[in-house]
């Protein structure tokens, strides 16, 4: 008997919100400083300290909910999730449980030309825990000791839970890619998977094709790239299939994905699952989000990727340029900042997607860290459009602009503007034509290409600063008049 199995996947994404401060205290929401330097009595969980909800985090959670077509709950409730662990300073995590801020949303994906709608069950807000640094081992057990760093404690997260609507590793990947793009375009999350600002856990089960009942699922954790998400699911599906085909059963458990061996291994089974003893957080009253506030948030929201796509199409960008921009929200953000009034978006796109992206990639700098301000790139494009610079000259100026200089001052210092003044060029052109009577004959007999030689001579004399098409026109004019 040959049973064919179908894969059923639900995904939980934890996204760190880009607020200035943490979820319940005034500490900066940033890392990279020394251990336990971004902390205060609240996020250290000191006795007597109390949480105060960050309004910006609520705005971001609602923004994400709106971007994923969710219903926003007028009243949502924070609860305490109780468990002991050294990275959890209060002995409980403040999270939302039975009444989350957003519910009933969806996200559309397209895989191999087929569109599909993935349901979003809920989005809830919660605080992150701190970080343990184990000494001499990968876990507490076996280590000589573990250090606790609470910089990350109390930073704001949203958890986005999908319906079990996903049917393949590829669909899972596209779902998370689209989700990440939406969160990044809406400005609520920086989307950095390697640094953990976006983490995806996959609930995976299989069932014989044609059956309704879900198989026993396992939860796969520690996936920190799109590629490892796909591989983790594929390896887990293969493991479950082999188990069932050999007459064995899948047990409900949490499994850890190892990117090196590309396999999952058991972390803990349902038997040692915690009873988290959720109950409403008495230090925070229920959160009310009025319809007026939702409308206000909606009005000030950044564009959803779907709307961005339409905008780029109307602006006349090529399919290729649109794809590149949508795949890199930071680049898109830079591009949008460049597109001020009076400059052509297509001209800007040519530079952002082309030479400018190349030089950044070469130096391994992301668009958000670009030393060239959008305004500087805009002036460069405007100088080309006005004829002050040739495309070639502009390209040669990019390395100098990477030091942070704007194109105007570079041009001023080097004097290297394009000569586009006919009167300035005419005497030089006349002198060069005088030296080459043979070319005059060729041109007059109809071989207009012969003029190219003369253009080359002019360019050589002007060190490339003459505007080539103007030179051509002037040369032909001069010869005609002889």
């Amino acid at each position: 008997m040959n049973t064919v199995f179908e894969t059923v996947i639900g995904i939980e994404v934890h996204a760190q919100l880009r607020t200035n401060t943490k979820l319940f205290c005034g500490c900066p929401n940033q890392f990279g400083t020394g251990p336990n330097s971004n902390v205060c009595p609240v996020c250290l969980g000191l006795p007597g300290a109390l949480p105060v909800l960050n309004k910006q985090a609520v705005i971001f959670a609602v923004t994400a909910g709106l971007g994923l077509h969710c219903q926003i709950r007028e009243t949502s409730v924070f609860s305490r999730k109780n468990y002991f662990y050294p990275d959890l300073p209060k002995g409980y995590q403040i999270s939302q449980y039975d009444l989350p801020i957003c519910e009933h949303g969806h996200l559309d994906i397209t895989v191999e030309g087929v569109s599909k709608r993935i349901g979003i069950t809920r989005i809830h807000m919660e605080e992150d825990a701190g970080k343990l640094v184990h000494q001499g081992a990968e876990a507490i057990s076996g280590s000589t000791g573990s250090l606790v760093d609470l910089n990350r404690a109390c930073t704001p997260l949203i958890e986005i839970v999908s319906e079990p609507d996903i049917r393949s590793a590829q669909e899972a990947r596209v779902y998370v890619e689209n989700l990440r793009r939406i969160l990044m375009f809406l400005g609520v999350c920086d989307g950095n998977m390697e640094e953990g600002s976006l983490r995806a856990d996959a609930n995976v089960s299989i069932r014989p094709v044609g059956t309704e009942k879900f198989g026993t699922r396992t939860e796969i954790k520690n996936v920190n790239s799109f590629r490892s998400l796909e591989r983790a699911i594929e390896s887990e599906v293969a493991r479950q299939t082999a188990l069932i085909l050999s007459g064995s059963t899948v047990i409900q458990e949490t499994r850890h994905y190892d990117d090196f061996t590309q396999t999952t291994k058991s972390l803990r089974s349902k038997a040692d699952a915690h009873d988290y003893r959720y109950f409403p957080e008495p230090d925070l009253f229920p959160l009310h989000v009025s319809s007026a506030w939702i409308a206000e948030i909606k009005a000030s929201m950044k564009l959803h990727p779907d709307a961005v796509l339409l905008k780029y199409k109307t602006e006349g960008l090529s399919e290729f340029e649109i794809q590149v921009l949508l795949d890199d929200p930071e680049m898109a953000c830079f591009f949008d900042a460049c597109c001020v009034d009076g400059v052509s978006p297509t001209a800007v796109a040519k530079w952002v997607v082309g030479d400018f992206q190349a030089i950044l990639r070469d130096k391994k700098i992301s668009f958000s860290d670009s030393p060239v301000a959008p305004a500087a790139l805009t002036s460069l494009v405007q100088m080309i459009e006005k004829g002050t610079l040739s495309g070639k000259m502009a390209k040669e100026m990019l390395p100098a602009m990477m030091t942070g200089k704007d194109p105007e001052s570079i041009v001023k210092e080097s004097g290297a503007t394009q000569i586009s003044d006919g009167d300035a060029l005419r005497p030089l052109i006349a002198a060069i034509i005088d030296q080459h009577p043979d070319v005059i004959e060729k041109v007059k007999s109809g071989k207009r290409n012969a003029a190219d030689f003369l253009i080359g001579q002019v360019m050589k004399e002007t060190k490339g600063r003459a505007k080539p098409d103007l030179v051509r026109t002037l040369i032909l004019e001069d010869i005609q008049n002889r």
Binding site: L46, P47, N82, I140, P282
Partner: protein, 484 residues
């Protein structure tokens, strides 16, 4: 001596803050060895502030009303740089890294913090016998408890060590010791006073309040510590109270409700007699007495012992030995380190309540206990709202008995829990309530409780003040030394 008298003496230049401190510590040194109300003193800080007060006095500057007034503080509120032990081994050497909002406001008012006061461990108890360090004695009778959990706060005022102290009240922890020690104590409306820097017992019930020799004195302290605090999300967005100013106005005629349930057989006859005579006194002043039924009160104690332990079980999870406080250093695994730290650090009553709270929140039991208790809590609140449609205040005994003997309830924690039968419903509904002395039985003070509408401390304290203008129970003092 009352706050007004002390203020007059400062104004006339008859005393200095440093001299007041000298006298205060001298009296404490000679008599607190017996009463044992203070866990430790905060002399350096007190003299530093006294110096500031005296310097300003010398320059003839006007001072805030409570400048130079000694203050005792229950040891569950942070005073930066001083210890906060909560009378627990687990925090025995914990040093507060910041000021609680109430302490910051008292410092701003230039009050003189004398020291930290004994209490039941983590405010769990009604006798101060649950202090991990030593029990406090009732200044009226050393063989009896001062009540709890703010036993040190009440005893220190009764013994004449300090004119004012801060307590916290989760189920009666200010009012019941105030009644047992013959002093006045107020539990303000939930949200009136910031809880920031108060070590939490049950967050939805805890409220800080003043204890003093009179309603008038307590009003000064409430006016100083109340008002919105952005660091406590449950603190109401209201300005500070102005009860002292209100007390100067003439008393209106009110409708006083008497819940039949709290004047029944559970209440000692002697206590009942004192409260009934106070009721008659109010009637003679022209107030209207209205009997009412508060049927949900009978379920209040049971409900409280689900909600308070549930919240406490989470609030006390942070004492795990990882970051501060006691730590079992011999344990070789994480689990044993946490278990041993908590096993050694917490006393029996605290453990009992953590276990109770953990149990009622467990999956499979939550709906039967915690969810049900929240419904009863809503019912109690609703019943108060209904009652306050017909009456302006409710008047009850504060506690069913006078101060009991040490060890009286050692074998029966449930009997001890019932001592809070009249005070617990008030915390459930978040209302303001005052306890003030209304008589004596066998030489022990009896307290009555006046409960008001939410945010109506003015009416509650106005009525208490009227009683104290017409009676002298609050001026009587126990016979330790000679109390001024």
């Amino acid at each position: 001596m009352s706050i007004s008298q002390l203020q007059d003496q400062y104004r006339r230049g008859e005393i200095t803050a440093s001299a007041v401190l000298d006298q205060t510590y001298a009296r404490i040194d000679s008599h607190d060895g017996e009463v044992k109300s203070f866990l430790f003193h905060t002399r350096a800080l007190a003299y530093e502030i006294a110096g500031e007060v005296d310097a300003r006095l010398a320059k003839g500057k006007t001072l805030p009303p409570l400048a130079g007034i000694p203050l005792g503080v229950k040891d569950n509120m942070h005073m930066s740089g001083e210890k906060t032990t909560c009378a627990s081994k687990i925090l025995e050497n914990f040093q507060a890294p910041y000021d609680a909002t109430v302490i910051a406001r008292c410092k701003e008012a230039l009050m003189l913090p004398i020291g930290k006061l004994n209490m039941d461990e983590f405010a769990m108890g009604s006798s101060t016998e649950n202090s991990a360090f030593f029990p406090t004695r009732n200044p009226w009778d050393f063989s009896r408890v001062p009540g709890g959990s703010s036993g040190g706060s009440a005893a220190s005022v009764a013994a004449g060590f300090v004119p004012l102290s801060l307590g916290s009240d989760t189920g009666g922890s200010i009012r019941q010791p105030a009644a047992f020690c013959g002093v006045t104590g107020l539990k303000p409306t939930y949200g009136r006073v910031s809880r920031y820097g108060l070590v939490a017992f049950a967050s939805s019930l805890d409220q800080i309040g003043p204890l003093g020799r009179s309603v008038h004195d307590c009003a000064y302290l409430l006016d100083a510590i109340s008002g919105h605090d952005a660091r406590d999300a449950t603190s109401a967005n209201l300005p500070a109270t102005q009860v002292v100013a209100h007390l100067a106005m003439s008393q209106k005629f009110l409708k006083i409700g008497i819940p039949r349930e709290l004047i029944g057989p559970e209440i000692d006859d002697a206590v009942k007699a004192c409260v009934e005579s106070a009721i008659r006194w109010y009637e003679q002043q022209g107030h209207q007495i209205i009997w009412c039924d508060m049927a949900s009160f009978s379920a209040a104690v049971a409900t409280y012992y689900i909600i308070a332990p549930a919240e406490a079980s989470a609030n006390l999870s942070r004492y795990d030995g990882v970051r501060y406080g006691l730590r079992d250093k011999k344990a070789d695994t994480l689990k044993t380190m946490i278990a041993n730290t908590r096993g050694h650090g917490f006393g029996a009553e605290v453990k009992r309540r953590i276990i109770l709270g953990t149990y009622v929140l467990s999956s499979g039991y939550y709906d039967a206990f915690y969810a049900k208790a929240q419904q009863v809590r809503s019912l109690i609140t609703y019943e108060f709202q209904q009652a306050f449609q017909n009456v302006d205040v409710l008047l009850t005994p504060t506690a069913p008995t006078t101060a009991f003997a040490f060890g009286a309830h050692a074998q029966d924690p449930l009997a001890m829990y019932l001592a809070d039968i009249a005070t617990i419903p008030v915390n459930m509904a978040g209302l303001p309530a005052l306890s003030l002395p209304c008589g004596f039985s066998d030489g022990l003070p009896v307290g009555m409780q006046i409960i008001g509408r939410a945010w109506d401390e003015n009416t509650v304290m106005g009525l208490g003040h009227q009683f104290q203008l017409g009676t002298d129970y609050h001026t009587r003092v126990p016979a330790i030394g000679s109390v001024a």
